[in-house]
Amino acid sequence: MTTSIEQLLAEQPYFKGLSASQLAAITGCAKNVRFEAGEPLIREGEDANEFFVIRQGKVALEASAPAGPITIQTLGDGDVVGWSWLVQPHTWRFGAIAMGLTRAISLDGECMRRKCEEDHDLGFELLKRFSFLISERLEATRLQLLDVYSPPPARGLRR
């Protein structure tokens, strides 16, 4: 028995709770994709024309650095990769590569923006979900910036 892409989308935590008509609308923008280990999903600086929902696998978000790419965060099953498709100028700010064989659903950004314009209820629902995602990632980034595991300042302690 094959699973339709609509069913696959409905199973993703990110799309849980959407109505059947909203899911059907999104399905028109979706396709199944797979990436081999080391293959890029997105490249920093390029046009952000899509985003991904990871079905199975692991993806590293990367930033370029003089000494080579630095992994900022890893994402796994059920996670969403990319929100630049939603935010102007629709350019990837970071890169993402598959850390192993990764199966995902790709959603066409232009198609998704059009659907959101046509159906503002869908647009607002997706905006709420992406805002939540962005706030979660921002919180995590702030924690990483705090560098909480670094050695504590001496503060005069003799320890």
Binding site: T71, D147, Y149, A154
Partner: protein, 277 residues
């Protein structure tokens, strides 16, 4: 207790030293001249006295089932721990302890157990993990979430490999930053909490790490429905006397040295929000 007088250090001899990471090391000690065996409960700490340098509170990180060996892992942060790090096999240091409260490993038998450690915070949790694994059948699911700064800062690599290989324990390790050579997770340890399976109605969580990390990890656990009374944290303060006389380690009304270092989260929740505390 190693001595009838809690203020009098008892001599222990260094049996072995291990470099864990660039700035952390492990000392394995035994009572000097065949002293009595040393018992402790997981989560307790000792005051280690480096002669000529001073004394520092260090969590016990060894196996509570082994009373012939005392194991401490610590990081070099000042003169005393630097002196400790310079000790060699055969050297002697003073030990006072064990002090403080323990992880609730016996009271929570039958529950799922979640350990969340950050950085050097894995050291005080290690005895609890070893105890749970030694009594594995008495517990439900066992999960360890461990966050470190970089792959090079990951503590107890040999233990982590062994625990991960145990088919009935889930071990997740994440680092804050890494190059492409690292194939594990990158991101904050708190982000792992939503992924792990556990029975929120029959579960205990034990956390040790930087306070900021613990605060955010607790929020994630509470979001998942774990009662605050089933969350336990180990606090770090500047313990001096270790017996509740001097007040150096106070957190509000609590002396971390004798009322802690392991606290139930609901005992501390209000205090953790007060910046001055």
């Amino acid at each position: 207790m190693t001595s009838l007088d809690p203020m009098a250090p008892v001599p222990f001899r260094v049996l072995r030293t291990d470099r864990e990471t660039a700035d952390t090391f492990t000392l394995e000690l035994a009572p000097d001249e065949g002293g009595p065996p040393f018992g402790f409960r997981p989560g307790q700490f000792n005051m280690l006295y480096v002669f000529g340098k001073g004394e520092a509170p260090i969590s016990i990180s060894g196996d509570p089932g082994r009373r012939d060996r005392l194991v401490h892992t610590t990081r070099v942060v000042g003169a005393v721990t630097a002196g400790m790090g310079a000790l060699k096999k055969g050297d002697v240091l003073g030990v006072r302890g064990p002090f403080g409260t323990a992880w609730p490993v016996d009271e929570t038998a039958g529950s799922d157990v979640i350990f969340i450690a950050g950085g050097i915070g894995l050291a005080p949790l290690r005895p609890a993990i070893l105890h749970v694994l030694a009594n594995r059948r008495r517990y439900g699911r066992v999960v360890l979430l461990y966050g470190a700064r970089t792959p090079e800062d990951v503590l107890y690599r040999r233990d982590l490999r062994r625990w991960r290989a145990e088919l009935d324990m889930d071990v997740y390790v994440t680092v804050d930053r890494a190059s492409r050579d690292w194939h594990g997770d990158v991101g904050v340890v708190t982000a792992l909490v939503p992924r792990i399976p556990f029975d929120r109605d029959n579960c205990v969580a034990m956390l040790c790490g930087p306070e900021v990390m613990m605060r955010f990890a607790v929020l994630e656990l509470l979001k998942r429905g774990i009662p605050a009374s089933m969350v336990h944290l180990s606090m770090e303060r500047n313990m001096k006397c270790a017996v509740g006389f001097c007040g150096h380690c106070q957190v509000g009304p609590h002396f971390v040295c004798k009322d802690g270092p392991v606290f139930r989260y609901d005992e501390l929740a209000r205090l953790l929000k007060i910046r001055e505390v």
